[in-house]
């Protein structure tokens, strides 16, 4: 297969950045999107040009490292897929692909397609945990948890922290990410003691980091490679309101 790539190139955070055009010829349809970029990069290095910088690691859709916007879609147009799981057979031969980094004030571009997502870490540090010291837990089966609650908590916990929800949101809101953690911990008994403090701290950290607010566009749910539903945002909002009354 053959593609024309329009790739965002930006040497550092201060650089204003620009699209550059590359031809990607002789690409097998079984190649993954990132392997296609590897091939383009190998050719760039061989002819002495700077290769495209992009983040990636596990290449099996679980670490959440990779991600960029392809033709306007975070992680590409295929549903429930991280960029590394997207294969070139999902595109048409001869297609032009516009490849851009996540764009959000809270995710500054470092170089090319690589962005700084440390804001997500700061939100978790503000309260995305259960305060349990190593060595002091009760027996694992001491707290039975209804299967339905455990399954729902699991669905929320599947978040890989890639940032596609932010990139897809017109407000660059991190509500889906934050709500997934709030819901995971709020749905199980272990998470109850800190439930109200947690939602206050995490939402305040989210606002400080420069993410926008949620106005129910639903782009986040559509872009999420783990298909985390927006219902969790409703749960977050309810917890946030409750937290104003409960101490």
């Amino acid at each position: 297969m053959k593609f024309t790539l329009k790739v965002w190139r930006q040497t550092n955070p201060k650089d204003s950045g620009r699209f550059r055009t590359y031809e990607a010829a002789d690409i097998s349809s079984d190649t993954s999107f990132l392997e296609m970029l590897d091939i383009v990069n190998e050719r760039l290095i061989e002819r002495g040009d700077d290769p495209i910088v992009f983040d990636h690691d596990c290449r099996e859709g679980i670490c959440g490292t990779c991600g960029c916007v392809v033709n306007g879609f975070a992680h590409g147009h295929q549903e429930g897929t991280t960029l590394c799981q997207l294969h070139m057979r999902a595109f048409d031969d001869g297609q032009t692909l516009w490849i851009e980094p996540w764009r959000a004030r809270a995710f500054p571009v470092i170089t090319d397609l690589m962005v700084d997502r440390s804001a997500f870490d700061r939100i978790i540090q503000a309260g995305g945990f259960i305060s349990i010291r190593t060595g002091s837990p009760p027996d694992g089966n001491a707290i039975p948890i209804p299967k339905h609650d455990a399954d729902e908590a699991f669905e929320a916990a599947a978040c890989v922290g890639c940032g596609a929800c932010v990139a897809a949101c017109p407000n660059a809101s991190a509500m889906l990410f934050v709500s997934a953690k709030i819901s995971q911990l709020g749905l199980v008994p272990q998470g109850q003691p800190e439930r109200w403090d947690r939602v206050r701290s995490m939402v305040s950290a989210m606002e400080q980091a420069g993410f926008g607010a949620c106005s129910n566009h639903g782009e986040c749910e559509a872009a999420c490679p783990k298909e985390i539903p927006m219902d969790f945002i409703a749960r977050l909002n309810r917890d946030l309101v409750c937290s104003m009354i409960k101490k």
């Binding site: 190649t31 993954s32 700077d50 990636h56 897929t81 799981q85 470092i110 945990f129 190593t134 699991f154």
Partner: protein
């Protein structure tokens, strides 16, 4: 080199308790004076950094990823073992210990393995308390499943994402400590050297992968939790960034490297499709609970799998190992797959694949039950292969997955360099020559949550606080060496990319030091490797314009340089060990049925290799393995 494993005296089930009592403690008020450097933020490193900070020590934690949540532990799928005996099926610490020793083909240390089994239950408790969403039964209690190499059901799991959920648990504990200011986290930072002054680890030299800045950090103790070296094979199930550099640099500074030839080839991975492939994807071993593995009986049978009737299929694992069937340990399953493919009965375009068939399980349990257990794995398979495994059998083939070898450590997890502790996959101690499924997560977390917080405390209490300043000579000379190596890489200006060298290296070690190894092949590899290394240093091409900003070609080149040197140590070890054991299969040493044949008289030892200069054969040191609890037998899963 002296190898003292420091195994405590006493009966095996009391060693750890007695040892904990005999260890010295650091006064709570003094703990904050100590600073501990933790390299790696996966299950072992993340849990160690969090637990040490909770105790009151100052901790600096380093990872090459952009967040500690992305360490490769996250990709572990199937589960974590614990001897809880929640199923009432006869499990116990002793049975988990016994299974692990036997699974490791009697090449691990009894005392370490017993401690691992003892701690396994605590890990589950800890993770549940953190909010890890383990699978549960309708009554609300924790569910279990079976895994290869065991006849009890002791594996705890979170669908096919157990590693992710456990890592996010450790990450949440670590994040809490970062938020409290007790851990200073350094992301996108790569360790490039270990600083040793007067025989003791004093700090590390790191490179900031964004700015290119090289600088040092000093500490009272250094903990390496930097994972394994599967990526020496280029194609493996490891993340692209996983590398041997931190462990290898520690080896060059005097830490012994133990049993590097013990590599695990996982039987259930998605087969290679072409030259462009950058990595291989694992399909959890748990699939073997419900999937049946087969190939056509006749090599010329080219019918579609669905059109081949049962009588023309060879369910070769069930045939050869009726007791364990599809649940034999990984090394046995991988070799059996290679054997049928070597006979020409492999499936798929390349002939390097076997079927993993769920038709029977779907017929018995229904598609929904299978989706509930393995949904994300089936989804992942379909993404990669564009085939629907609910309808056609999966095609699988073995791939490099885990490395049992690693830096040598004693019972305290301290290496041969004082003050350098090694945890998780980076050390060698618990899995012998073959790791059982669902044991890596257990070991990483046992090391990080429970073992190292105790043993590092003992070390610090004995040694006292006397950090060497990062301005001192030892640090300056290590920094200079690192800078010179970077300069050298940038100035080669040859014709070949780092990836092309890495692929060639991978092919050499896969062909000669992969699933089957022979004296002839290993010797051939030892001729090819130095030649490739020399060409690398003459003909490498990377982007020299970028050193003060992101330069991924430079990062890769540095790792390939270390993989190239390390491969020689691995092959030397494989050549020295003329027996077959676990994942190390020497063609010359097999039983009549083609099973691995150990040679306990000559090889019941840990091979700990000592660095002797680039291009020189490393020096072999032996730690004899003595077995007081179990008797050594030929492993049988029939």
């Amino acid at each position: 080199m002296e190898l003292d494993p420091k195994i405590p005296a006493g009966p095996i089930d009391q060693k750890w308790d007695r040892h904990k009592f005999s260890m010295k403690l650091v006064n709570p008020a003094n703990k904050r004076k100590f600073n501990i450097l933790v390299v790696g933020s996966g299950l072992a490193g993340g849990s160690a950094a969090a637990s040490l900070a909770e105790l009151g020590y100052g901790v600096d934690c380093f990872c090459y990823q952009d967040s500690p949540r992305r360490a490769h532990s996250i990709a572990a799928q199937g589960g974590i073992n614990a001897s809880k005996n929640y199923q009432n099926d006869g499990d116990s610490d002793y049975r988990l210990f016994y299974d692990t020793i036997k699974g490791g083909d009697y090449r691990s240390r009894e005392a370490n393995v017993y401690r691992l089994a003892q701690l396994s239950g605590n890990i589950i408790d800890q993770c549940v308390a953190q909010g890890v969403p383990f699978a549960r039964e309708y009554g609300g209690l924790l569910a279990n499943r079976s895994f290869g190499g065991a006849q009890v059901s002791r594996t705890f799991y979170a669908r096919g994402q157990t590693g992710q959920q456990l890592l996010l648990g450790a990450y949440s504990a670590l994040s809490r400590q970062i938020g409290l200011g007790n851990v200073k986290m350094h992301t996108r930072t790569e360790m490039l050297d270990l600083v040793v002054v007067d025989g003791r680890a004093r700090g590390i030299v790191v490179r900031n992968m964004i700015t290119g800045e090289v600088r040092s950090y000093a500490g009272d103790a250094v903990i390496l939790a930097t994972g394994g070296y599967s990526n020496v094979f280029y194609l493996s199930t490891n993340a692209k960034g996983c590398n041997v550099t931190a462990a290898y640099r520690a080896y060059k500074r005097g830490a012994a490297f133990a049993n590097p030839c013990y590599t695990q080839i996982h039987p259930t991975c998605i087969p290679v499709t072409g030259e462009h492939q950058s990595k291989l994807t694992l399909m959890s071993e748990s699939l073997r609970n419900d999937g049946r593995i087969w190939v056509p009986k006749d090599a010329d049978d080219k019918r579609k799998p669905g059109a081949i009737p049962d009588e023309d299929r060879d369910y070769y694992l069930e045939r050869r190992y009726p007791a364990f069937g599809n649940l034999v340990p990984r090394d046995v399953a991988s070799r059996a797959a290679k054997l049928v493919c070597d006979e020409g009965r492999g499936v798929g375009e390349t002939g390097l694949g076997v079927y993993l068939d769920f038709a029977a399980a779907i017929g018995r349990l229904g598609e929904d039950a299978i989706r509930e257990k393995y949904g994300n794995l089936f989804h992942m398979y379909e993404k990669i292969t564009a085939e629907n495994p609910y309808e056609v059998p999966m095609r699988i083939y073995p791939a490099l997955h885990y490395t049992m070898g690693g830096l040598w450590v004693d019972y305290n997890l301290e290496s041969t360099i004082g003050g350098l502790f090694v945890l998780g996959e980076a050390n060698f101690s618990d899995h012998g020559a073959n790791r059982l499924g669902a044991s890596a997560l257990m070991q990483g977390l046992a090391d990080g949550y429970f073992i190292v917080p105790a043993t590092v405390g003992d070390f610090l209490a004995r040694e006292g606080h006397n950090t060497v300043a990062p301005e001192s000579q030892g640090f300056k000379s290590a920094e200079t060496e690192v800078n010179e190596k970077i300069k050298r890489l940038l100035n080669i200006k040859g014709e070949r990319t780092a990836d092309s060298f890495h692929r060639e290296l991978g092919k050499i070690v896969w062909d000669h030091c992969g699933m089957g190894r022979s004296e002839e092949g290993l010797k051939k590899a030892l001729e090819k490797l130095p030649a490739l290394r020399e060409e690398f240093w003459k003909n490498l091409k990377i982007m020299p314009t970028r050193n003060d900003q992101v330069n991924q070609t430079l990062e890769r080149a540095g790792r390939v340089a270390d993989h190239l040197e390390f491969a020689e140590v691995m092959v030397t070890d494989a050549l020295n060990r003329a027996e077959s054991c676990g994942g190390h299969f020497r063609e010359e040493s097999q039983t009549e049925e083609g099973e691995a044949k150990r040679d306990d008289d000559n090889f019941a030892y840990v091979a700990a290799w000592e660095y002797a200069g680039v291009g020189n054969a490393p020096v072999l040191n032996k730690e004899p393995l003595t077995f007081e609890e179990v008797s050594l037998t030929q492993r049988s899963y029939k």
